[in-house]
Amino acid sequence: MDRETVIEMILDPGRRPAEGTPEHHTFLAYLEKSPECRAMYEQQQVVWEALDLWEPAEPAASFDRAVYQMIERSRTKGSAGLWGWLGLPGEWLGATRPGLAAGLATLLLIAGAIVTTQPRRGEAPLAQLPPRVETEYVEQIDQALDDIEMLADFEALVLEPEGPGRS
């Protein structure tokens, strides 16, 4: 039996050979001849006994009811439709990693603000429009008014009764 095996047996009583077996005698003999392993064994016994003082916890009487309520809430949320499904990652993050959830929410808000304030593709912001655009627009209106005036003159000319000077 080597030292490593003995240490494993000291730390894990489940690995120790059954009492009365030759292996168990070998284990005990090893502890007798190795003061270091013996000290470790004794100290480890103290640890086992100390840990035994810590008794199991009794769950509250309402424990089961709380579990079933959580299951029921989970079912209700599960049937909430698309929005329910979309909200699940956020809900999970909120429950397990609130810091990360808050960070992601902030990022989403910032991204939303950037997207809504950005002009659409190919569309220049109003402030950046050059002054000539406005001038071109005025010129087009003038041109249209001229055309209307010219057509009106032409119409009047056509409809005007023939005068004596004309043949």
Binding site: D12, P13, Q44, V46, A57, E58
Partner: protein, 195 residues
């Protein structure tokens, strides 16, 4: 668990009855706070219920359940939830339940000594790094072997051996002062006192 998977609600209740106490106890020892431990245990059972459809009996159910519980406990400890609620070891005393001594005849002085010893144990366990703590609790109180602990912690068996070696080494130092009246010889103890 396979019956739960098939939609048998009664089987889930049986699971709850069987594992409620060990899971709450494990989590309380992990986070050292009864209220947080119960919340985490409820969450663990909810996850078991939700995942029942995808459960494959590849691993032992207990290992699977404790893997979920460990994951929740480690997340809770890292997020510091248990500190926000209350300072359990030094806190408002909710963790300090009256010690249930086997010997009802023990006098107040013995009670005090026992409580001091228990307090020392809690502090020593709380002082362990989280994974070492989980390994010790699964090994000592849940009686898991190295392979099961490795599965629950998501690490190799050799990593578990290393975790346990270091954890018990720390505990032998921090709990060494409790050895005053303890000088058993190996032959007297048989296979040790692991319960």
């Amino acid at each position: 668990m396979l019956q739960v998977k098939e939609g048998d609600a009664g089987s889930f209740e049986l699971l709850l009855n069987k594992y409620r106490r060990p899971v709450v106890s494990y989590l309380r020892r992990m986070v050292q706070n009864q209220a947080v431990a119960e919340e985490l245990a409820q969450e663990a059972f909810l996850r078991v219920y939700r995942a029942r459809g995808s459960y494959e009996p590849a691993a032992k159910f207990t290992t699977w359940l404790f893997r979920i519980a460990t994951h929740l406990a480690l997340n809770s400890l890292r997020d510091g939830k248990h500190h926000r609620r209350e300072q359990s070891v030094d806190g408002d005393g909710s963790e300090r339940q009256p010690l249930q001594l086997a010997d009802e005849r023990s006098n107040p002085e013995e009670q005090l000594v026992a409580e001091a010893r228990l307090d020392a144990v809690r502090r020593a366990v709380a002082a362990l790094p989280e994974k070492q703590r989980a390994a010790v609790l699964l090994h000592k109180y849940e009686g898991m072997d190295y392979a099961q602990i490795a599965d629950a912690l998501g690490c190799s068996i050799s990593a578990v051996k290393s975790l346990l070696f270091r954890a018990y080494e720390s505990l032998r130092v921090s709990l060494g002062h409790l050895a005053a009246n303890h000088k058993k010889r190996p032959a007297e103890d048989g296979n040790g006192s692991l319960s």
